[in-house]
């Protein structure tokens, strides 16, 4: 039991619905557990694919609109696939003064995406965060768990190239 979903123009992904069933099995008949159920599904797929959400709706007997309402209310739930590497550009005061807007701009130029978006090859997702608490390194970005500090726009390309 599976269905193919088009996530990006070129990328299709198999959504294994029987996997969804087993993930949410503990929550069946417990409509108030919809958030943990969605978390399990997202943990598995990295985001909430539509066929998986539809499956949750059917199995938990909760209207799709209601689940979508919950999923889009909380920032933790992602409705689109995310990249293998999550770039978090710090927009804190110290980084801002040290030129983080220019860093973000350069990343956007190189990857041809805007903040909040994911590259077509699912390599990078670009996000802005309020402060990552490494002001001494300003301007700083994080890629997954790795901080890259004291950046200039010119250093960005090599750093991105090191994540394949």
């Amino acid at each position: 039991m599976s269905t193919v979903v088009e996530t990006r123009e070129a990328v299709t992904e198999e959504i294994d619905l029987s996997k969804v069933d087993s993930l949410i099995e503990p929550y069946l008949g417990k409509k108030e557990m919809v958030i943990p159920a969605l978390q399990k599904v997202q943990d598995h797929f990295g985001y909430l694919p539509r066929p998986a959400v539809e499956r949750v709706s059917k199995q938990m007997r909760i209207p799709l609109s209601r689940i979508y309402g919950v999923a889009t209310f909380y920032a933790q739930f992602k409705m689109k696939p995310r990249g293998r590497y999550i770039i978090r550009v710090c927009k804190g005061t110290a980084c801002h003064i040290q030129g983080s807007p220019k860093i973000a701009e350069r990343i956007e130029d190189i990857l041809s995406i805007e903040s909040g978006e994911t590259t077509d090859d699912l390599r990078f997702t670009l996000e802005e965060v309020a402060c990552i608490g490494a002001c001494a390194l300003a301007p700083v970005i994080m890629i997954n768990e790795n901080p890259h500090g004291r950046l200039t726009p010119d250093k960005v390309k090599d750093i991105l190239d090191s994540y394949q």
Binding site: R50, P63, L64, S65, Y68, G69, T72
Partner: protein, 812 residues
């Protein structure tokens, strides 16, 4: 607890504990503005427009959620309150298109009204505004979410009251919106187009397409009528401008639909303006219909009827009535046919609903819904078998939802999920055709566990011993095997039904012409008898009929063996009573039934046939070859209808009739409630109300009938019909009356069989044939047209309406 006394705007009032300040103020006639408050939904105090000042309280409080307290002193219109309301309005207006000049809602928009009241002409705030495009995807309404103020009433109605679950809040913050999942269009959602969101929207975000540009609220007159589709008989306000119906809203103050409708009532009336409407009498001449005057048509009918009567005798004449006609029309119709000397008058009422009618006759001695629709909301348990009320009778499903919100147990037994499955604590996906086995197994468990109502059984029923022996023949393991439902599920369902103080059963299996459904009706009657769930409020058997006046047309005696009120033709005293009133002799022999006549082909004894608003050629979905053959062999066929139907095309004379909005009269709904429907517009062309046509024709046939209007006809009928004896148009005006209503001071009868069944004792019947019953899915296939949410039995109305566009499978 004692009452609470408080003071609002200087006026003292006593209220029950738990009453909110808003409700208390409304009792005093003080109008506090609200956006997100709706009496049907839980209040959440979200919009804050209802804030009031309570002395000694630190902040303003939202009156819709704040309970009234003892000795509270409340000010609903102090300067502080008004400033707060202005600020709220100003914030709303900052992000709301101010195109009131062209907005359809102008004149009945809460935002506009409150801005007017508090003098908010423009916003003091400026910022980003929403720029969403309209959802114009469907045939019924436009959604302009730029106008939405996020009050959430439509969400509550859609999710909780209707159960469609098509829309909810999405996202949050500035981009928060209301809509279907994944930003789909409404057309692609689970929307059922009941229109309740439109009716409850305080602003102009949701606008029905039928009224676009048609008129302003102050140009519209509203006329109260009864929906012409199903047997629930919802009350509607017809919005009329310049002799044209341009909109429909539900009546909120009647017990039947209480402000709710389904797609049929909300959108299905536009057939009134169909180009297929008959507007002049037609006579067939050399195979072609010619428009003629009424005189010419009626004279021709009188000549032909006389000739058939002379050549073949009265019993060569027959009348076929439709369950869509008013009581007045069907009463006069059977009077006319009987005055011609024959009892050959019938309707498809029995044909389509024989299992329900026969089953209930056998068990109780009469056949009608035992309780009222509104009582469902207060029942403790509901068993739904072989029915999908959300599809066939949506208002019943709304009441079931309400009951569950009030704490009722819901048991749904159906092979496939139905519209109520999401709500059911007990969903039993039984095998096709095993419903009788399931119901018998529930009875077995109830007896085995001692949950039956023995006092009721002893005092009010007979046949229990044989019934008990019969259900005990099968073990639960047998039942589990036959039904596919495990023992634990069977037991918990049986306990839920039997354990409730009051439990109701809903099934539409009886509303089907398949004879096998009768076994299930009897099995369900047994279950109700076993648990004492008859003759009391919020219990009983709900077997809703199909057509809007099916109950009434039967009550009126449009049946071959009975006169109005089911008084038997064969009884001399009955005939004498009617003869005296009608000044004509009544034939003592029961007439022929439609079923036997329509299948008699070329050998039929019937030579002249008069059909009212019925389309037997395509009734129940497909063309009926036998019927066509029978009709073609008639000497003379009269069809009276609102459309040129397939049957009308075979007629010698066609008489153009008025539709529901074009005449006054009464309909009797499936809970035996007689309701007044009123005339909102004139019939098209030379069409006339059916009762008036029949009365006029009677004159041409030599009878001296004088009626000033339909109420005259009604009064004559009530004088001859015991169940209706206490009714009059005056008494029917607001809530209608449920029969039996034997005298003018009788309040009508909401619950049947209190103290006594029509046959004396309720009868248990052994229903052994466990597998002969068709499941709902088989039924839906066999008479599909009868149960679609957007259609009724003969789809002659719905197929000429916008509701024919409803894609019922979308998004499911």
């Amino acid at each position: 607890m004692s009452a609470i006394e408080l003071t609002i705007d200087g006026k003292k009032i006593e209220v029950e504990p738990g009453t909110t300040i808003l409700e208390a103020a409304r009792q005093l006639g003080i109008d506090i503005p609200t956006f997100c408050y709706d009496p049907e939904l839980p209040s959440n105090g979200a919009c804050r427009i209802c804030v009031v000042e309570v002395e000694k309280a630190r902040a303003l409080v939202a009156s819709c959620v704040a309970p009234a307290g003892s000795d509270m002193v409340v000010h609903t219109a102090s300067e502080r309150v008004i400033n707060a309301r202005r600020a709220i309005l100003s914030l709303l207006v900052a992000n709301h298109p101010l195109d009131c000049i062209t907005c359809e809602k102008t004149g009945e928009c809460k935002l506009q009204d409150y801005c007017y009241r508090y003098g908010v002409a423009d916003s003091e705030f400026s910022g980003e505004v929403k720029e969403l495009s309209d959802d114009d995807s469907n045939a019924f309404f436009v959604r302009d979410m730029n106008k939405c103020i996020l009050c959430g009433i439509c969400v509550g109605k859609c999710q909780d009251v209707i159960g469609a679950g098509a829309i909810d809040f999405t996202k949050r913050g500035f981009v928060a919106n209301v809509g279907p999942a994944f930003e789909d269009s409404i057309e692609d959602s689970t929307c059922v187009f009941c229109g309740l969101c439109i009716d409850s929207c305080p602003v102009g975000a949701l606008i029905p397409k039928y009224s676009l540009g048609k008129g302003r609220p102050w140009e519209i007159t509203k006329t109260r009528a009864v929906c012409p589709y199903c047997s629930i008989g919802c009350n509607v306000n017809l919005h009329v401008k310049a002799n044209e119906v341009i909109g429909v809203t539900p009546v909120e103050t009647n017990p039947v639909n209480r402000g709710h409708l389904c797609i049929k009532g909300k959108f299905g009336w536009d057939y009134l303006k169909s180009g297929d409407r008959l507007t002049r009498p037609l006579i067939k001449s050399n195979g072609v219909f010619l428009e003629v005057s009424w005189e010419e048509a009626l004279a021709l009918i009188a000549d032909n009827i006389d000739e058939v009567k002379t050549r073949y005798g009265s019993d060569a004449i027959m009348g076929l009535c439709s369950p869509k006609t008013t009581n007045e029309e069907s009463y006069l119709f059977q009077k006319l046919i009987r005055s011609l000397g024959t009892n050959n008058v019938d309707s498809y009422t029995r044909h389509c609903h024989a299992p329900a009618v026969d089953g209930m006759m056998e068990a109780f001695g009469s056949a009608a819904m035992t309780n009222s629709i509104e009582e469902l909301s207060d029942t403790g348990a509901i068993l739904v078998v072989a029915a999908d009320p959300a599809e066939s009778h949506p208002v019943i499903s709304y009441r079931v939802r309400e009951a569950v919100r009030n704490g009722a147990q819901l048991i749904v037994a159906d092979p496939e999920p139905i519209g109520l499955t999401d709500l059911a604590q007990h969903y039993l996906p039984l095998y096709e055709g095993s419903a009788v086995a399931l119901v018998n197994a529930m009875a077995y468990i109830i007896i085995e566990e001692g949950l039956q109502d023995q006092a009721f059984i002893d005092k009010r029923t007979e046949g229990y011993a044989a019934f008990k022996a019969a259900v005990s023949k099968y073990s639960i393991q047998d039942a589990a095997e036959v039904t596919g439902i495990g023992e634990e599920e069977l037991r918990s369902a049986a306990r839920a039904y039997a354990g409730a103080e009051k439990a109701a059963i809903i099934s539409t299996v009886g509303a089907n012409y398949s004879a096998a459904g009768g076994g299930l009706v009897l099995a369900l009657a047994n279950l109700a008898l076993l648990t004492g769930n008859l003759g009391k409020e919020s219990a009983g058997l709900y077997l809703p009929y199909g057509e809007n006046n099916l109950q009434g047309v039967s009550d009126m005696g449009a049946l071959p063996a009975v006169l109005s009120g089911y008084q038997l033709v064969k009884e001399k005293a009955v005939r004498d009573k009617f003869s005296r009133s009608w000044k004509t002799e009544i034939n003592q022999n029961a007439g022929l039934s439609a079923a036997e006549v329509f299948t008699s082909g070329e050998n039929s004894a019937i030579k002249a046939l008069y059909i009212l608003d019925e389309n037997p050629v395509t009734c129940i979905g497909e063309e009926n070859v036998e019927t066509v053959q029978f009709l073609a062999n008639l000497d003379f066929l009269i069809v009276q209808d609102i459309f040129m139907t397939e049957t009308a095309a075979l007629a010698d004379v066609i008489l153009p009739a008025a539709a529901f909005a074009e005449q006054e009269g009464t309909y009797t709904n499936t809970e035996r409630r007689v309701q007044l429907t009123r005339q909102a517009v004139n019939p098209p062309g030379e069409a006339f109300p059916g009762w008036a046509i029949i009365a006029e024709l009677a004159g041409w046939l030599g009878f001296e009938w004088i009626y000033d209007g339909p109420s005259d006809v009604f009064d004559e009928m009530t004088s001859l019909t015991p169940q209706y004896a206490g009714m009059s148009y005056e008494r029917l005006k607001t809530r209608g009356l449920q029969w039996p209503c034997p005298s003018e001071d009788h309040p009508g009868t909401a619950v049947l069989y209190e103290g006594r069944f029509s046959r004396g004792l309720g009868l248990f019947t052994v229903v052994d044939d466990q597998t002969a019953v068709p499941s709902r899915t088989e039924i839906s296939v066999s008479s599909a047209a009868a149960y679609h949410a957007c259609q009724c039995q003969s789809d002659s109305m719905s197929k000429r309406s916008v509701i024919n566009n409803f894609k019922r499978d979308s998004g499911r």
